[in-house]
């Protein structure tokens, strides 16, 4: 684990040098900041708008950062051939993969904290400091971003960059539409299609599970029990994704 941590820290430092990261972060902050522009609304509506836009901005730009940073984390090592030297060191390939995951989590955490600080600053400015419901929504967004990063990282162990970007974005969109998809599947009468749909529904991560922002914005309380259940779902999914990534990196020839 110590070696994975060393690789993780190095990945984190390397990610900090990516221009993409700063561009996305700045756009995210502008979007979050822009939510304050709706000054024609009543104070209460404006607050809802700030929360809604900020949650969406943090989630969307966080997802972009997760996808790009995870993609670079592995493909850059292969492209620049630094992986040859790393694999000649006394580390396992699992050390390498877990290290890359740690690095991605660190960079996501830093970005998430910066975006949240900006958002919280806006709330405090509006004299409405974040409550526990806002924290719950942010927590779920954060673990969703980690899962998105882990999936992209895993796909990077066996697929090309182009495929990975398309796949990760596709999964991000589909993952947010799985509930609608499930309703469609239920209405389908074709058994084969229904079966295939159900399999797909079980395999594709349901990112909507992590979305409680609509409820939080309108003041509906989300129970701790729900957060706990989604936490378990996330953990199981994450473990499976990391195991798959570890398997493929073990097989990969560079």
């Amino acid at each position: 684990m110590k070696k994975a941590w060393i690789i993780g820290l190095n990945t984190f430092k390397e990610s900090l040098r990516r221009k993409t990261l700063y561009i996305l972060l700045v756009i995210a902050l502008i979007v979050i900041g822009a939510s304050k522009a709706f000054s024609f609304l009543t104070a209460e509506e404006e607050l809802k708008m700030i929360k809604d836009v900020s949650f969406s901005g943090i989630e969307f730009f966080g997802a972009l950062i997760a996808i790009f940073m995870s993609l670079y984390a592995i493909s850059n090592e292969i492209e620049k051939r630094t992986i040859y030297t790393l694999f000649s060191k006394p580390i396992t390939r699992q050390n390498f993969f877990i290290g890359k995951f740690i690095g991605v989590v660190l960079i996501l955490t830093l970005n998430f904290i910066l975006m949240c600080l900006f958002f919280i600053g806006l709330l405090i400015f509006k004299k409405s400091p974040p409550d526990i419901q806002v924290s719950k929504a942010l927590f779920l967004i954060f673990i969703e971003l980690i899962l998105i990063g882990a999936i992209t990282l895993t796909v990077a162990t066996f697929a090309s960059d182009a495929f990975n970007i398309i796949f990760s974005f596709f999964l991000y969109i589909v993952g947010h539409l799985t509930s609608y998809g499930n309703q469609l599947i239920d209405r389908t009468e074709n058994l084969i299609l229904k079966g295939l749909g159900k399999i797909l529904y079980s395999v594709v991560p349901n990112y909507e599970n992590f979305n409680i922002r609509d409820k939080v914005v309108v003041g509906i309380e989300v129970s701790r029990n729900y957060i706990f259940k989604i936490g378990i779902y996330w953990l199981l999914y994450l473990v499976i994704v990391i195991l798959i990534g570890s398997y493929f990196i073990q097989k990969r020839e560079v």
Binding site: K2, K3, I6, I7, N10, K13, E14, R17, K80, R81, T82, I83, Y84, T85, L86, F87, S88, K89, P90, I91, T92, E253, V254
Partner: protein
């Protein structure tokens, strides 16, 4: 005593389902402790493939690799091996000492020992005055030198160098050659690949000639020159390769 033993090593690369490219074909050789063993061959002859297989970077199609009595994936074995890849690329935002520290930490070297070793190595490769310079500002020669230092960070018993003088100026080549002899005198076993015949001729105790994935000849230079009735290494190199190609044509 053989410190490296390669037995019937074969590596095929597959393009699609049916097309097979030979990376290495049934290669066997051994390297004795304390010697410098040179793998010679034209581009695409399988030199780098062989080294990558030895370090567990690639998986063999068949055959055995035994280094210090362990297989190529063994972590304990890797603690005693240093590797310099061809045209080394490193994390260019790091400085030389930072790079050495990063690699050193992967060997679990104690902080104090590691710091002392980094100092020594920077002097050895004459980069002590470039301590604060990020690698992206290094010249090709400097990168090659920091690569040598990185391959020595664990004070390895075995050093595997892939084309260590590619891109170096004549002075750099001479310095690398002197360094190799110095390391040999310290008891290190060195396996290097190169297509520079003069370099190999001057430092290697034994050589192997690779071509199209096949090991054509191995032994001391004298043995091989006598065996092939050659005038020198260059003549030997050309003869073995031409003979092989002629056989292939037939």
């Amino acid at each position: 005593m053989s410190i490296i033993e390669i037995k019937e090593l074969t590596k095929y690369y597959y393009i699609g389902r049916n097309k097979k490219i030979v990376g290495l074909e049934n290669v066997s050789f051994s390297v004795e402790e304390g010697e410098i063993y040179g793998i010679l061959g034209p581009n695409g002859s399988g030199k780098t493939t062989c080294l990558k297989l030895m370090l567990g970077i690639l998986y063999p199609t068949s055959g055995e690799i035994n280094i210090l009595g362990k297989n190529q994936f063994d972590i304990e074995m890797k603690k005693n091996v240093g590797f310099l890849p061809e045209n080394p690329y490193y994390y260019d935002y790091l400085t030389g000492p930072e790079l050495l520290k990063f690699y050193g930490k992967l060997y679990d070297i104690q902080e104090k020992i590691l710091n002392e070793r980094i100092e020594k190595l920077l002097y050895l490769v004459k980069l002590h005055e470039a301590k604060k310079l990020a690698l992206k500002h290094y010249s090709k020669g400097m990168l090659e030198r920091i690569g040598v230092a990185a391959s020595l960070i664990n004070d390895p018993k075995i050093l595997i160098l892939d084309e260590p003088t590619t891109g170096l100026d004549p002075i750099g080549c001479i310095e690398t050659r002197d360094l190799l002899l110095q390391l040999k005198n310290q008891g290190k076993t060195i396996l290097l690949s190169s297509h520079f015949l003069s370099e190999v001729e001057r430092v290697c105790d034994r050589i192997a000639i690779f071509h199209r994935g096949y090991l054509l000849a191995t032994g001391t230079l004298r043995e091989l020159i006598e065996k092939y009735n050659a005038q020198g290494l260059e003549d030997l190199f050309v003869k073995t390769i031409n003979d092989f190609d002629k056989k292939g044509d037939r």
